[in-house]
Structure formats: structure tokens, C-alpha cells
Amino acid sequence: MLAFWILAPIMVAAALGLLFARKAVHAALALAVVMISLAVLYAVQDAPFLFAVQIIVYTGAILMLFLFVLMLVGVDASDSIIETIRGQRIASILVGLTFAALLVLGVAQVSFGTVIGLGKANEGGNVPAVAKILFTRYVFAFEVTSALLITAALGAMVLAHRERLTPKPTQAALAAQRMRDYAATGKHPGPLPPPGVFARHNAVDTPALLPDGTAAPGSISRVLAARGTVKSAPEIAEEIKALTGEDSTVSGSAHTEGEG
């Protein structure tokens, strides 16, 4: 019961947070709090199976689904606080309060009698007991809900599918486009330069070296370059020298060794 009295205010506060949050992501996080607290309450009420299912399915899958769609729709978008429908806010508050009052009043009048508890029902474990009922009495509903899930997945695929508006470019078309870009802007038609023989790392901030020893410009993210956190070629040379013990500036027969 202690758990209940701790969690109940938290849940209500989080629900109110869902109600009042300006940004949608904050609302989603508040909902997550509610759901996890609910899972704990299920556990408190001798429903361990539902505790697990709540966290895995509801919080883990459904809420994540919400967050994914929020990302797609636009994280930055925030609801304006101005209500466009006249009187909606006041009416909703009034009706909502009335509704809550009526519900609480009704519940307070009812006496549930002594709580029987799930001690006897959970004999042999909650999960086997649930399984027993689920696969005997409610097996038909179970099969139907599985059909429902398949239908929902198919439906989502159909709805989210985007039709191609233009035909898929073929290999020849892509090559031709590359040549056109090179002719127009001088963009390098070939693939990006590989790291090469003198590559020491495949880290993001280590540029690839061209045959003449200069750094290939396309191998580094321009963000890093703008930040100036890119390793310069002399630094790399120092490293290589430290590793092989040879001076890379000596031209001659530079036979590679596979160390490093």
C-alpha cells in the first residue's frame, strides 16, 4: 500500500504534465512515467505477468512508436496555448470536473466488500494460471486478436508505403548523371578515396592520404573540418614514423611493411 501512496501522486502529476506540456516529446515522457508506475501498481496487486507485459509492450513498444512518429512529424513543433474554439476550454474543464466528481462520488458510495485477493487464484504461479485461462476459455479471442495484429501490421505497411513518383534510376543513368555533374561543376566522378596504404585509423577525424601525401578533401566531414578537430598530415606522418622508425620524407625505395 505504501507503494500505492507514493506512486499515486507521481502518476497524477505526470498525467497533468501530459496535459499541460507544450512540447509533444515532453508529453510522451510524462506518459512513460505514468506507464511505468502503472506497471509497478500491477506488480503490487499480484499481477506479475501484466507488470512485465506493461513494460515490454506498452512502454517499450507503443510509447517508442509514439516517439518515432514524433520524430517524423517534427520534434520542434509546439502547440500554441491559444484556444481556437470559443468556450471549449472552460466547458471542457467544467464537464471534466463534473465527470470526475460524479465518478469519485459513485465509487465512494459503492462498497466493494472484503477484497478476496489473488492468493488462491495464483496457486502454482500467476503466469501458468493466466495461461491456463487464456488458452482454454479465451483461446478463440486470442486467435482473433492475433489476426487483428497481423491486420494492423499489414495496414500500417500499406498506409506508410510511399509510391515512387519517378522511375528507379538504373546503373547507366547514375553513371551518366555523375559524368554530367563532373562536366558542370568539376565534382569528382569516382568514389570517395579509400583510406589507402598509410591509413592508420579509420576514425572519422583522420583524413585519407592521396598518393602525393596530401589529405583527400572529401574524406572528412566538413563539420569536423570547420571545427578544426581534424588530424593534419604531418601529425599522421609523425605517427607513422614512430611506428615504422623510418623517415617518410626520404624518397626512395619505401617498401611497405605490414605492421601497424
Binding site: 474554439i85 471549449q88 466547458a91 471542457s92 464537464v95 471534466g96 463534473t98 465527470f99 460524479l102 465518478l103 462520488l105 459513485g106 458510495q109
Partner: protein, 648 residues
């Protein structure tokens, strides 16, 4: 019905009971009297143009045969005992509604017998006259159809044994009158006059409907037999009410005050129509109704007083109007109104006067029809001009018309030995015996009658000629003069019905008997006084119209009395101000009320709903979040209901 001697069949009040024997022997032909003109009307009106060539002769023929049958039936009735002269023929049961049964029965007694003779006899003569008068009218066949329809309806009215049967005939004659007044439909004045007659008659019909209803409520039946047997069992208030309602009906049909304004306008119809319907028969239906309902009127003093008052007012009114009219037909119409006033007055005097009313009705039928047909003859000779100011000196040009008209004139003013003297004098006598004021009204009326009738005679026949340029008066053809001669003969000799009191004895079993009250100056003295008054009237007329030249245009500088008489004593103006204008205002008010209030409610409801839905639809703003709010609110309501149900 068994044969019951009249002594047992009378009530202890003296009013007779209708207790008729069944119609066997020659009386079984009674229905034919009505059926023949009805059949004639049906053939002529439904047959169409095919019947045009011989239609008028069929019309004359049906009425002639009905007249012969009436004569046969009359003599058969004369041959029976005086207590046994009521015969009833059951035709069929019209309808039954619960305990109320109305049979279409024909009642033939002394009263109906004289009416039958009058209607078919004078009607037949006028039918013959119309053959010549309407010769140049292309719708003559239709005219005879309507005339036959009228005769059939009038016969139904006088032969019915039930108030509902009377109502059937009553409406039929009203319809025929409308059709005939408006016969020349293309004349707007004729159409308006027909409508006016019908509408004012309708007001009177309310009296007959309500009266019949009240009779039914009181006695449980509307047949004369039942009502007359139980009349003394009803309260006097009820009897007075019934009497006054029947008086209202009589006023409408007989053009008595206050429903008199239609009669002068009815002269728009062809002259035979004026003669038959608006002189001899239809306008006398009111008198018939009152006399037939004598078992009711004899028991209520108040209703009779009402009848007498109406009669007095109308006889003076009609006489005054007749004095100032230049249209010969309108003058004769005013005279008709006045003479029927005499009949109504007599009928209101109770058992003393019923028989006299019928007697005057018969003689009036003769001389008024005579004079109307004479007027038609005059119009025929002067290119249908009705203005007496364009007549004058017609006695040389139309001698037969002059002589027959003169006989009618002498009859109406009451010069012995012509018919009018006998009937009108008896009425004046009985009036004086009842009440001095009533008698005085009747006497003064006789004087005014002499005045305007002499004026009419002088302007038409005696004074210098004032003819229009293209008028060449000539005598009418024989088909028109022979009826004139026949009617003149009846006007001359009709008075002998009173010899030995035949007519009063004849009708006594129907209307009851009375104690003869003799006057202080005696009957002969009364007649002399009346003749003096008549002579004064003739002298005044001679002074104004015989001695001085009659102007061709009606003078405009006249006394207020003449103006009032020309305006028919403001009867039309009164109706217009008191009834028509408030009626229009009321209807306009109602229509405004309907348009604004009632329609306003209907349209208002519709637009309210439209407005409400316009307001509600704003809730559909398209935003999902608003709809979600609505869902949550609904859920909260459901919760509330659940909590209320479970924890209350």
C-alpha cells in the same frame, strides 16, 4: 286514419285539429297535381335545346291539366260532409332519425283546395300570357321550365302535411324566384336583384327552420296532425316564440317589414314573373303559413299582436312608397306590399280574420295579376318602357288593356261591386272591432291606396300623351289580351265568394269560428265611411295629376315626404348602414384577425422552429474536439442518471 266528426276533433279551446281521412277514390290522383308541373320542369330543363320548339306548350299544358284536376278534386271535396273535408295522401317516408320520422304526405282540405285553384288557375292564365310575352326571347323554353318548377314548389308548399314539407316547398319557391328574377342574366341589375331577394328570404328562412325545430322539440313531431292535437299542452311562452319565428318567416317570403326591401327590386324580372310570383302566389305563402298554423296563433295573444303590428306598418309603408314611384311595376309592387299587409293584419286578428285574409288573398291574386299583366301589355306597346312619365293617353291606343286594367283598379280601391270592396271592407270592419288604432290604420291605408292607384291610372291612360319619339302604342296580341279579360272577369265577380258567408263557412273547419262582434255604426255604416275616404283619395289624386300637366322629367324640388317615399322609406339605406356595413367591417376584422393572428401563430411557430434550428445548427462546427466534448457531457449525464437511480 279513421273518420272522426269535427265536433270531437276540436280542442276545448275551439281551434280545430288536423285529423285527415285517407285519400281514396278520386283523391288518389292528388299527387298528380304536384307531379305534372314537376315533370314538366324536369323535361324542359334537362331536355335542352331539343325541346325549344314545343317547350312552352308543354309548360302551359302541365299547369292546365293540374288546374282541371284541382277543379275535379275541389268538387269532390264539396260533395263531402262539411266535417269530413280533410284528406291525406301518404307518398313515402322521407327520413327517420331516431324517434323522429318525417313523412312526405299531402294534406288536401278546404284551405289547400282554394290555394290549388288559385295557383293552377291564375298560374295557367299567366303561362298562356307568357307564350306571347316571351315570344322574342330565345331562352323562352327555360323560362317555362322555371315557371313549372315554381308551380310545383308552390303546390308542395300548400299541400304538405308537415312543417318540413312546407319548408321543402318554401325553399323551392325561393329558388324559382331567384332564377326568374335574374332571368335576364346579362343585366347586372337583374342579377343583383335576384341575389338580394334570395338573401333577404334566407333571413326569413331562419324563422321557419328555428320555428320547425322548436315545434319538434316541444311536440316531438312536425306534422300538422300531431301539433294541432297537442297545441294546448305547450307553455304560452313556447307558443309565442313559435309564433314569432313563423312570423319572421312570413315577413321574409311576403316582403313585410322589416324584410321588405327586396320586393321592389324584384321587378327586374319579366312581367309574368312579377304577376305570378310577386303578386298572386309566392308572396302570399307567408299568409298561408300563418293561417295554416292557426292552432298555434289562436293560443297566443302576444304573437298575434306582433302579426297585427307588422301588418299595420307594412300596409302603410307600401302605400306611401307606391305614391312616389314613376316606374309602373314598382308602383304596383308597393301596392302588393301594402295589400299583403292587409292580409297579414287580418290573419293577426285571430279566428275572426283568418278566413278574411284568405279571401283577400284570393281577390288580390285576381286583380293584382290582372294589373301586372296589364302593365306588361302597356310595356309591350311602348317598347318596354316602364316610366309612367312617358305614357299618357293610352286608353285610345290600347282599349282592351285599358278596360281590363280599369276593372282591376276599381277592385283594388274597393269600389262595389268589384272583388276588392268585399274583401277589404270586411278586413277594415274586423280591424275596428278589434282595436280602434288598427282600424284607423287600415282605413287610412285604403285612402292612400285610392290616391296612388288613381295617380297610376291617370298618368298611364288618361292624361295627355308624353310618348317617346319612336313609340307607337298598339294593342297586344290575343294570346296576351285573353288572359287579361279572364282575370278582369275574376276581379269583377270574385267578390261573390263572400255571398252568404260562403268563404268563411267553407274555411271554418280549418281555421275555427268566432263570435261576430258588431260595430257601433254597423257594417253598412263602415262601408260608407270607407267609400268616403276612398273618394277623398281619388279627389286628391285628380287634383294633382288629372288637372295639372304631368311633367316628363321627375321634379327635383319635392317635399321631404316625396323624397322619403322615392327612397322607399329608407329601407335600403337602413339595411346598408345597420347590417351590411357592420357586416363588412366585422368580416374585414375577422379576415385581418385570421391573417395576422391565426396565420401569425402558424407562421410564427414555423419561423420559431426555423430560428431554433438555425441556432442549434451552430453546434455543428465541424471540430472533433467539440463533438468529443458533447460525448463527454452525454457520458456525464448518463452517470448522473445512474447515480440518481441507484442511490436515491
Amino acid at each position: 286514419m279513421s273518420l272522426v266528426p269535427s265536433s270531437l276533433a276540436a280542442l276545448h279551446s275551439g281551434a280545430p285539429v288536423v285529423h285527415a281521412a285517407s285519400a281514396d277514390g278520386v283523391f288518389s290522383l292528388l299527387w298528380l297535381v304536384v307531379a305534372l308541373p314537376a315533370l314538366g320542369a324536369a323535361v324542359l330543363l334537362l331536355g335542352g335545346r331539343r325541346t325549344d320548339r314545343w317547350g312552352h306548350w308543354l309548360g302551359v299544358g302541365t299547369v292546365a291539366v293540374s288546374f282541371l284536376l284541382s277543379l275535379v278534386l275541389f268538387f269532390a271535396l264539396v260533395g263531402r260532409d262539411s266535417g269530413d273535408r280533410q284528406v291525406s295522401q301518404h307518398l313515402w317516408t322521407w327520413f327517420t332519425a331516431g324517434k323522429y320520422t318525417v313523412n312526405l304526405d299531402l294534406l288536401y282540405d278546404q284551405l289547400s283546395a282554394v290555394f290549388l285553384l288559385l295557383i293552377t288557375g291564375v298560374g295557367g292564365i299567366i303561362h298562356l300570357y307568357s307564350v306571347g310575352y316571351m315570344e322574342h326571347d330565345e331562352r323562352r323554353r327555360r323560362f317555362f321550365g322555371y315557371l313549372n318548377l315554381f308551380v310545383a314548389s308552390m303546390l308542395t308548399l300548400v299541400l304538405a302535411a308537415d312543417y318540413v314539407g312546407v319548408f321543402l316547398g318554401w325553399e323551392g319557391v325561393g329558388l324559382a324566384s331567384y332564377l326568374l328574377i335574374g332571368f335576364w342574366q346579362y343585366k347586372p341589375s337583374a342579377a343583383a336583384a335576384a341575389k338580394k331577394a334570395f338573401v333577404i328570404n334566407r333571413v326569413g328562412d331562419i324563422g321557419l327552420s328555428l320555428g320547425s325545430a322548436l315545434i319538434f322539440v316541444t311536440f316531438g313531431s312536425t306534422s300538422f296532425a300531431v301539433v294541432s292535437a297537442n297545441a294546448d299542452k305547450a307553455s304560452s311562452g313556447t307558443l309565442t316564440a313559435i309564433g314569432l319565428l313563423l312570423l319572421l318567416a312570413a315577413c321574409g317570403k311576403s316582403a313585410q317589414f322589416p324584410l321588405q326591401t327586396w320586393l321592389l327590386d324584384a321587378m327586374e324580372g319579366p312581367t309574368p314573373v312579377s304577376a305570378l310570383i310577386h303578386a298572386a302566389t309566392m308572396v302570399t305563402a307567408g299568409v298561408y303559413l300563418i293561417v295554416r298554423s292557426n292552432f298555434i296563433f289562436s293560443l297566443t295573444e302576444d304573437a298575434r299582436t306582433g302579426v297585427v303590428i307588422v301588418g299595420c306598418i307594412t300596409l302603410l309603408m307600401g302605400a306611401i312608397i307606391g305614391c312616389a314611384k314613376d316606374d309602373i311595376k314598382k308602383a304596383l309592387a308597393g301596392s302588393t306590399m301594402s295589400q299583403i299587409g292587409y292580409m297579414i293584419l287580418a290573419a293577426g286578428l285571430g279566428p275572426a280574420g283568418y278566413a278574411l285574409a284568405i279571401f283577400h288573398l284570393l281577390t288580390h291574386g285576381f286583380f293584382k295579376a290582372n294589373m301586372f299583366l296589364g302593365a306588361g301589355s302597356v310595356m309591350h306597346g311602348t317598347n318596354d318602357d316602364v316610366n309612367m312619365r312617358h305614357y299618357g293617353a293610352l286608353q285610345k291606343a290600347m282599349p282592351v288593356t285599358f278596360v281590363t286594367f280599369a276593372i282591376g283598379y276599381l277592385a283594388i280601391i274597393g269600389v262595389p261591386p268589384f272583388a276588392g270592396f268585399w274583401s277589404k271592407d270586411r278586413i277594415i270592419e274586423t280591424a275596428f272591432a278589434d282595436n280602434f288604432v288598427v282600424g284607423l290604420c287600415a282605413l287610412v291605408g285604403a285612402g292612400i291606396t285610392a290616391f296612388y292607384m288613381t295617380r297610376l291610372m291617370l298618368m298611364t291612360f288618361v292624361t295627355e300623351q308624353r310618348w317617346e319619339p319612336d313609340v307607337h302604342p298598339h294593342e297586344s296580341p290575343r294570346v296576351m289580351t285573353i288572359p287579361l279579360i279572364a282575370l278582369a272577369a275574376l276581379s269583377a265577380l270574385g267578390g261573390f265568394l263572400i255571398l252568404n258567408g260562403w268563404i268563411t263557412d267553407w274555411l271554418a273547419p280549418v281555421v275555427g269560428t268566432h263570435e261576430e262582434k258588431s260595430l257601433a255604426i254597423g257594417a253598412l255604416g263602415m262601408s260608407l265611411v270607407t267609400l268616403v275616404v276612398v273618394a277623398i283619395g281619388i279627389a286628391i289624386a285628380w287634383t294633382f295629376f288629372g288637372r295639372r300637366a304631368v311633367p316628363r322629367e321627375a321634379p327635383t324640388q319635392v317635399s321631404v315626404f316625396t323624397r322619403a317615399a322615392r327612397a322607399e322609406l329608407y329601407g335600403d339605406a337602413f339595411n346598408e348602414e345597420v347590417i351590411v356595413k357592420p357586416g363588412y367591417t366585422g368580416i374585414r376584422g375577422l379576415s385581418v384577425f385570421d391573417g395576422s393572428f391565426v396565420d401569425g401563430i402558424a407562421e410564427g411557430t414555423a419561423s420559431a422552429f426555423g430560428g431554433m434550428s438555425s441556432w442549434f445548427r451552430l453546434a455543428q462546427n465541424g471540430f472533433v474536439r467539440s463533438y468529443a466534448l458533447a460525448v463527454l457531457s452525454g457520458a456525464a449525464l448518463v452517470l448522473l442518471a445512474l447515480l440518481a437511480v441507484n442511490f436515491s
